[in-house]
Symmetry: C2
């Protein structure tokens, strides 16, 4: 157990930042051992590593990190529910369908997800993100329908199936949920980076 | 050809925003037809759609969008070079290796990319992003080496090969580069969204 100054040093955060995280509920309060003195342990170090990963690798702001941390702490959530929370916390800030064009695209996306046979909440933010992407592609002059997403959906399906399988159901809840969150965020960023690098590779010598 | 007020209305931006984009070099100046009067055409509408897509779907800020737009306008860039520009513009703000741990991870990532046989600039930002992801995963207690990226690299390789092939070399430069940029950004966002939804699907009924 260490004082807050030592925790800050070990974790590479400033003391005011740690106090801010505690006030905001991101970091657990320390154990009070005397007036004006609290001690911090491994759980705090681990939580700070998680916050740093979500912030720096996942690019998530404090509000979104807080929603994920609250879900991790909620032992009553099933893994499926937790993936739902992470889905929402990582969602883009998307506008609701404002035009008949986006409403029609949304209906098309919903049909597409039904055809895939995916069990996904009707209010999953990702549905509207896909509809907005379709509207954007059409606005840029591509004559696309939701079928253009199919190869991406198939790749995502294989990847997610492998990832969900890799989380053993024998693990304690707290370990499993941390794994899920980190896996979703870090490997999502890793894949996006690898795809960019692969574009560079495959375009070499193309002109 | 239309006045700036009509362009703003059509494209759904405010006039001050359009003037800001012109000052910053994101949007081409209009054609001067009289003192204090310029006309705008389809190229402007298309550029504004591109800016909106990069901003809203890709989550890119004005500085990054400007680097991409400049590259699109530079006819001398090969497609390979343009993918390099997009790679950099979409890169996370990553710290340089500050510790021996990150330097060792970076060397491991460089070897991994060599093993894949990918032709990627030695200074591609993605290399450091992967190294930082590896450090983050290890900090969170996973005993991982760069090999954990292999299934992601294989999926990215297949996806990028298909995407690069889909850009016909017969297309004019400006059309091809816009296709590349939009494809990279929009389908990157689409895949990330689909992976999140697939997690939700595959975890349903898992506990």
């Amino acid at each position: 157990m260490v004082r807050i100054s030592e925790l800050a040093r070990q974790a590479g955060f400033s003391i005011p930042t740690l106090k801010y995280y505690i006030r905001e509920g991101l970091l657990q309060a320390g154990t009070a051992v005397a007036p004006n003195r609290a001690d911090y342990g491994d759980d705090h170090v681990n939580r700070l590593r998680l916050i740093r990963t979500l912030r720096e690798i996942g690019g998530l702001d404090i509000g979104r990190i807080k929603r994920i941390v609250s879900a991790i702490e909620d032992e009553s959530l099933s893994r499926h529910e937790l993936f739902g929370v992470v889905e929402r916390a990582r969602a883009a800030d998307v506008a609701d369908p404002a035009s008949s064009e986006t409403a029609a695209s949304r209906a098309e996306v919903d049909r597409f997800i039904d055809e895939l046979g995916w069990r996904v909440r009707p209010d999953a933010a990702g549905r509207q993100e896909l509809a907005n992407a379709l509207v954007a592609l059409r606005g840029l002059g591509r004559d696309y329908d939701a079928g253009v997403f199919r190869p991406y959906a198939e790749a995502a399906d294989r990847m997610a199936a492998r990832e969900v399988r890799s989380i053993s159901t024998a693990e304690p809840h707290s370990v499993a949920v941390e794994r899920m969150v980190v896996g979703t965020v870090v490997f999502g960023a890793v894949f996006d980076t690898l795809r960019r690098l692969a574009h560079e590779h495959h375009s070499s010598g193309s002109d």
